[in-house]
C-alpha cells in the first residue's frame, strides 16, 4: 500500500512523456481550471435558484448564504477574466521594473485592458465578503436550529 502511494506521488511530481497515453502539456491545465470556475459559477447560480424556490431565503441565515453565493459568482467571473487576460500576450504584457511597481503594456487604444487587469487582481475584495456572508449565515442558522440532536427534521 505504501509502495503504491509513493509511486503515485513520484508520478505526480516527475511527469514525463508516455508513449501509450496522450500528452497534457501546455494550456490544458489552464482550460480545466477555467472550466472549474465556470462550473463553480453555475453551481452557485443553481444554489440561489434552489434557495429561492424552496423559499428558504425567508430565513435570515439562508438569505445571507444566498448573498455569499452571489459574491462567489462575481468572484469566479473576476478570476476567469484575469486568467484569460494573463494568457493574452498579444494585448497584455506585465513586468515588474521595481519591487513595488507593476508595468502593464498594451497596444494603442487597449489601455482599458490594463486597468481591468489591475482591478481584477484585487479579487479578494470580492471573495472575502463571500466567505464573510457564508460564515454569518451559518452562525445565524446555528442560532435558529433546535437545541440538541433531533431525528432529522426537515429545514
Amino acid at each position: 500500500m505504501k509502495a503504491v502511494f509513493v509511486t503515485i506521488l513520484l508520478l505526480l511530481a516527475l511527469p514525463s512523456a508516455a508513449a501509450a497515453t496522450q500528452g497534457h502539456a501546455g494550456p490544458e491545465g489552464l482550460y480545466a481550471h477555467q472550466m472549474a470556475h465556470l462550473f463553480f459559477m453555475f453551481a452557485m447560480g443553481l444554489l440561489i435558484y434552489w434557495l429561492r424556490r424552496r423559499r428558504l431565503i425567508d430565513q435570515g441565515g439562508w438569505r445571507l448564504i444566498q448573498y455569499a453565493a452571489l459574491f462567489f459568482i462575481l468572484w469566479n467571473l473576476d478570476a476567469f477574466v484575469v486568467h484569460l487576460l494573463e494568457e493574452q500576450v498579444d494585448v497584455l504584457s506585465i513586468s515588474r521594473p521595481e519591487r513595488w511597481q507593476m508595468r502593464i503594456e498594451t497596444p494603442a487604444n487597449w489601455s482599458w485592458v490594463g486597468v481591468v487587469y489591475y482591478l481584477g487582481k484585487l479579487d479578494h475584495l470580492i471573495c472575502v465578503p463571500a466567505v464573510v456572508f457564508l460564515f454569518m449565515g451559518l452562525r445565524r442558522l446555528i442560532r435558529a436550529a433546535p437545541q440538541g440532536p433531533t431525528k432529522g427534521a426537515l429545514p
Partner: protein
C-alpha cells in the same frame, strides 16, 4: 502604464489571511450545525461545501502568501514549480463544491420522502404498540358501546307504539315488534313467522302489489294510506312507510323495513267531521225549504178544516177533505222533522232522570208495538243522575232507535238498553243494542243522511236517524254507532252530565 504594486500585495496577503480564518470558522460552524442535527442532510451539504471551500481557501491563500513572500525575497522562480499544484487543488475544490451543489437538490427531495416515510412508519409503529397494549380494553369498550347501542335500538323497537316490521324482499315476515303483533292481530310471536306474508294482512291485496311495485322501483315508499285487516274483522286504516335495505333492487335478497302507524281514530274523526259538515249543509237547505212549505201547509190545513165544518158527516166531500187533512198533517210532520233535524227549534231543557225517560219510552213501545218473539232488556247504571234535556225530544230519539232495533231484529231477537257513564263521569251514555244482521259497511257512512233508508218504500221516511242526530247535537251530545255485520248494531247516545251532578 506603470502602477503601484502595493495595493495588490496588501489585498492579496490580507485577503488570503482572512480567507483562511473565515473559511475555517465557516467549517466549524457547519460542523456545529451537523452535531445539532446529525441526520439533517442540509447540514451535511453545508459541511461538505465548507470543507471544499476551506481546502480551496487554504491552498490558494497559502500559495498567494508564499508567492508574495518569494517575490519580496527576489526568489520568484521558486513559485514556478509550486504553482501547478496550487492551481490543481483549487480546481479540485471548485469541482467538489459544484458537484455537491449540483446533485444536492435531487438528494434533498429524496431525503424529504425518506423522512416522511419514516415519520409515517414511526406513527404506524406507535399506533401498533398502542393497539397491542390496549387491544383487550378497546375490544371491551367497543363491545360495551355496541351492546348499549343494540339495547337502545331494541328498546325503541320493543317500546314503539307503531308497528316496526321487517320483511324479506318477497314480503314474508322476518321480524315484528309487539305493537305490530297487536296491530296484525297476533297474540304472540309465532314460531313460523316467516310463513306469514305481509299481503295477507291487507284488506285489499292489490294495495300490497302497488306498494311492492313502488318499493321495487324507487327503493322506498313514504306515507301511504292503506287498510289492514283488523282483528275484529273490520278494516283498520294505517299510514305506511318502508324502504329496501341491503341488496340493490335488481338483485334478489335484502330486506324491507316498514314503519306502520295506526290512523284509524284519525280517519274516523275525519269522516265524522266530514259527515257533520255534510249534515250541516243539508240542514241549512232543509230548514230553508221547511220554513217556506210550513206556512202554505198551515193555510191549506186551516181552510180544509173550515170547509170540513160545513160538510155533512159521512158525505163523499167530507171524506175527500179528511184525506186532504190527513196528507197535509203528514206533510207537516215531515216538515217538523226537517226543522228538528236542522236544529232550528231550540230544545226546552230541564232536569230529568234519564232512567225514567227510558222507562216511559219502553212502556210506550211495549204498549204500541208488536213484540212477539222480541225481548227487550234494560240494564241501568244508577250512578247516572239527572240530565238537562228536552224530555220529549230525547224520548223521540229513543223511540227512533228502538223502532229501528225492532225492525232490525225482525220477528225474533233481543234488544238491550243500558245506561252508563264515560269520560270520567262527565258524560252519560244510553246504549241501544240489537242482535240483528248489522249494518253493511257500505251503508255506514250514509245512515245519518236525511231520506236515506233501507226500509221498503212507504215504511220509512229516512228522517229518523238524521232527526235524532240533530236533536242530540242540539243537546251538546253525540250519537255513535258500532256495527258488525252478522252480530248486530249498537247506537250510543252520549249526553253531558251537568256540573252539579258529575262529581266536580
Amino acid at each position: 502604464m506603470t502602477l503601484p504594486f502595493m495595493p495588490i500585495w496588501c489585498v492579496d496577503v490580507g485577503g488570503s489571511i482572512l480567507m483562511i480564518v473565515l473559511s475555517v470558522g465557516a467549517l466549524f460552524s457547519a460542523l456545529q450545525l451537523r452535531r445539532k442535527e446529525p441526520r439533517n442532510i442540509v447540514w451535511t451539504y453545508l459541511m461538505w461545501v465548507c470543507y471544499a471551500l476551506m481546502v480551496f481557501a487554504v491552498s490558494r491563500s497559502a500559495g498567494h502568501i508564499l508567492k508574495q513572500v518569494l517575490i519580496l525575497m527576489g526568489r520568484e522562480e521558486y513559485w514556478t514549480p509550486i504553482r501547478p499544484y496550487s492551481g490543481a487543488i483549487n480546481t479540485f475544490s471548485f469541482m467538489v463544491v459544484g458537484s455537491v451543489t449540483l446533485f444536492f437538490e435531487r438528494t434533498w427531495t429524496i431525503y424529504q420522502g425518506i423522512v416522511r416515510d419514516r415519520q409515517r412508519l414511526e406513527s404506524a409503529h406507535q399506533e401498533s404498540i398502542y393497539l397491542n397494549q390496549n387491544l383487550e380494553q378497546l375490544v371491551e369498550e367497543r363491545t360495551r358501546a355496541l351492546a348499549m347501542s343494540e339495547h337502545q335500538y331494541r328498546r325503541i323497537f320493543e317500546g314503539s307504539k307503531d308497528m316496526i316490521l321487517v320483511t324479506g324482499r318477497d314480503g314474508h315476515l322476518l321480524d315484528v315488534n309487539p305493537a305490530g303483533l297487536e296491530m296484525l292481530g297476533l297474540e304472540h310471536r309465532p314460531e313460523n313467522l316467516s310463513e306469514y306474508h305481509f299481503s295477507s294482512f291487507f284488506q285489499e291485496p292489490q294495495e300490497w302489489q302497488a306498494l311492492w311495485r313502488g318499493i321495487d322501483r324507487k327503493g322506498f315508499i313514504s306515507s301511504a294510506e292503506v287498510d289492514l285487516k283488523s282483528p275484529n274483522g273490520n278494516r283498520k286504516r294505517v299510514l305506511l312507510s318502508g324502504g329496501l335495505e341491503g341488496e340493490s333492487s335488481e338483485e334478489e335478497g335484502g330486506t324491507i323495513h316498514f314503519l306502520v302507524k295506526d290512523i284509524e281514530q284519525q280517519r274516523m274523526m275525519r269522516e265524522q267531521m266530514a259527515q257533520a259538515d255534510k249534515l250541516a249543509s243539508i240542514g241549512e237547505l232543509s230548514s230553508g225549504i221547511a220554513h217556506e212549505i210550513n206556512n202554505p201547509l198551515g193555510i191549506i190545513l186551516g181552510y180544509t178544516q173550515l170547509m170540513l165544518r160545513n160538510e155533512l158527516e159521512g158525505s163523499d166531500r167530507a171524506a175527500d177533505l179528511k184525506t186532504i187533512e190527513k196528507q197535509v198533517r203528514h206533510c207537516k210532520s215531515i216538515v217538523e222533522d226537517l226543522l228538528n233535524f236542522a236544529r232550528t227549534s231550540s230544545p226546552k231543557k230541564e232536569l230529568h232522570d234519564i232512567h225514567a225517560v227510558v222507562e216511559d219510552v219502553l212502556h210506550f213501545i211495549r204498549q204500541h208495538s208488536k213484540l212477539d218473539g222480541i225481548e227487550i232488556r234494560a240494564n241501568y247504571d244508577r250512578r247516572v243522575g239527572p240530565l238537562l234535556m228536552d224530555e220529549k225530544k230525547i224520548s223521540q230519539v229513543l223511540i227512533n232507535l228502538l223502532m229501528n232495533a225492532i225492525y232490525a231484529v225482525g220477528g225474533r231477537g233481543e234488544i238491550t238498553v243500558t245506561t252508563g257513564m264515560s269520560d270520567n263521569g262527565q258524560k252519560a251514555v244510553v246504549r241501544v243494542h240489537d242482535d240483528g244482521p248489522g249494518i253493511q259497511s257500505r251503508d255506514m257512512a250514509r245512515i245519518f243522511d236525511p231520506f236515506f233508508t233501507t226500509k221498503p218504500t212507504g215504511q220509512g221516511t229516512g228522517l229518523g236517524l238524521s232527526v235524532s242526530y240533530g236533536i242530540i247535537k242540539n243537546h251538546g251530545g253525540d250519537i255513535r254507532v258500532e256495527s258488525t255485520p252478522g252480530q248486530g248494531t249498537a247506537f250510543s247516545i252520549v249526553l253531558p252530565i251537568p256540573a252539579d251532578f258529575n262529581g266536580r
